[in-house]
Every structure is written in structure tokens, then in C-alpha cells.
Subunit: 105 residues, 2 copies
DNA sequence: ATCAAAGTACGACTGCCGTCAAACTTTGAT
DNA sequence: ATCAAAGTTTGACGGCAGTCGTACTTTGAT
């Protein structure tokens, strides 16, 4: 299988692409869960109500935007939030979106 | 003509709606221009490459999301960025999007 | 060797969003 | 009174994004 999928570097992060990734509720929820957990989470362990193929699609969008990093562990795929790198590219953005303030709306 | 259009109150601002408003490049540009100007700007004075009807649509989306306030001045419509109110609802969000950092991408 | 588990890849479908043109309305100036 | 300027409204169109099912692949366990 596709060993390790391609990941963009920080220098390639684009605001438009990141926003397009974060505007979807399902994807934002994935980011939120990763942030709250403060640890890696495998694809199958997320709380989301879409089919597997749709989930795969969302992970791909997040990965290509630079929001998450993915690597295999056995048959599972682990997801890591690229927090530091995102903060470097877009200071305050993830903070604003994951804050309890914003979450409450 | 519709005198003063309806504006949502801060308590009604929704994250999803605000993000959907900000994800469009044209609309984000409107917000950026308002923020940079630090003053009100009338619809016709913005730098944007879409038809008038499309512009009207974008202003409506921004207004309904709570990002701008609109009021008439003669035959022109003035647009005000609801900075303080947005900051109250989503601390750091506009800052993150209008920063030179983010703008550069 | 077989099988189940975990994702991926590929089409296909659907609904919505951004876009425009055309007709209309209101206001201000001549 | 007329006209031009500035937006709005409405309807139509096109494209794309989110969704799913099905078939496929890889890995690990039995």
C-alpha cells in the first residue's frame, strides 16, 4: 500500500487551502479531537458519522493542507496534528478555532 | 429600498457561518481591505473583480455572518467591519487572518 | 495458507455555491 | 422632470465538494 503519503512542508502551506480544510465541520472536528487529545489518533478511533471512504477523503484533505501528518502502524494509520508547524505558518489560527470560546458556538 | 438590512447580534454569531463567510477569497479580501483601511468603505469602492450582483451577494453573506455592518449614505451603502464584536465572539480569529504572516500566503 | 480488520481507490450521484445578465428601485444631481 | 449612479432582486447556469457503495490491497492473527 502507499507507504507514507506525501506531506507538504511548512513553506508550502497556503491560507486558502487551510481554510478550505477547516471550514468542513467533520474535518474541523478531527482537528479538534486531535488537539484535545494531545496525542496521535488512528483513523478508526475518531468520533465521526461518515462512511470509511468519506473519512479517507477528509484525512487526505487535512493532510494535503498540512494540518495533519499520517504514518502507518501495522494496518492502522496514525494521525498527528502538526500544531507547531501550523502555528508557525498561521499564528493564532488554530488557537482561535480550538478555544473553548469558539467551540461553544 | 430596504432601509437598514437585518444584522445578527453577537450572541448569534456562529463559527460555522463565520468560517463559511471567510473561506471565500473575494469575501476575505473585503474583510482585509476594511481592516487595513481602518475605516468604512462603500460597496463600490472595493477592489474586486466580480459583477455588481455577485458583490451584493458577498456583502450579504458577510453581513449575515456578523462580519460587517451596512447602512446607507445617500445612494451608497457603507460597510463597517464589526471588529470588536467578532473579537468578542472569536478571540484571535480575525487577527490570525489579517496578520501580515497569514496574508503572505 | 486463510481470514478478518483497516483503509484506499474509483465511480457515481446530489446539492449547493459562486457567477452573471437583465430588469428594477431608490437617490441625488442637472 | 429627467437622468445617471449605486445597489438589489431574480433566475439561470456550471462546477465542484461531500457523500456513499463496491471492489481492492495490505497487514496481522489464527
Amino acid at each position: 500500500m502507499g507507504r507514507t503519503p506525501p506531506h507538504p512542508e511548512v513553506s508550502q502551506f497556503g491560507l486558502q487551502q487551510v481554510l478550505e480544510a477547516l471550514v468542513d465541520p467533520v474535518r474541523r472536528s478531527i482537528v479538534t479531537q486531535l488537539d484535545a487529545a494531545g496525542a496521535d489518533i488512528k483513523c478508526g478511533a475518531f468520533d465521526m458519522a461518515v462512511s470509511k471512504s468519506t473519512a479517507t477523503h477528509h484525512f487526505k484533505v487535512l493532510r494535503e493542507a498540512g494540518l495533519i501528518r499520517q504514518h502507518y502502524v501495522g494496518t492502522s494509520r496514525m494521525n498527528t496534528l502538526r500544531r507547531a508547524e501550523m502555528d508557525e505558518a498561521f499564528p493564532g489560527l488554530l488557537d482561535a478555532l480550538t478555544s473553548p470560546q469558539a467551540q461553544a458556538r
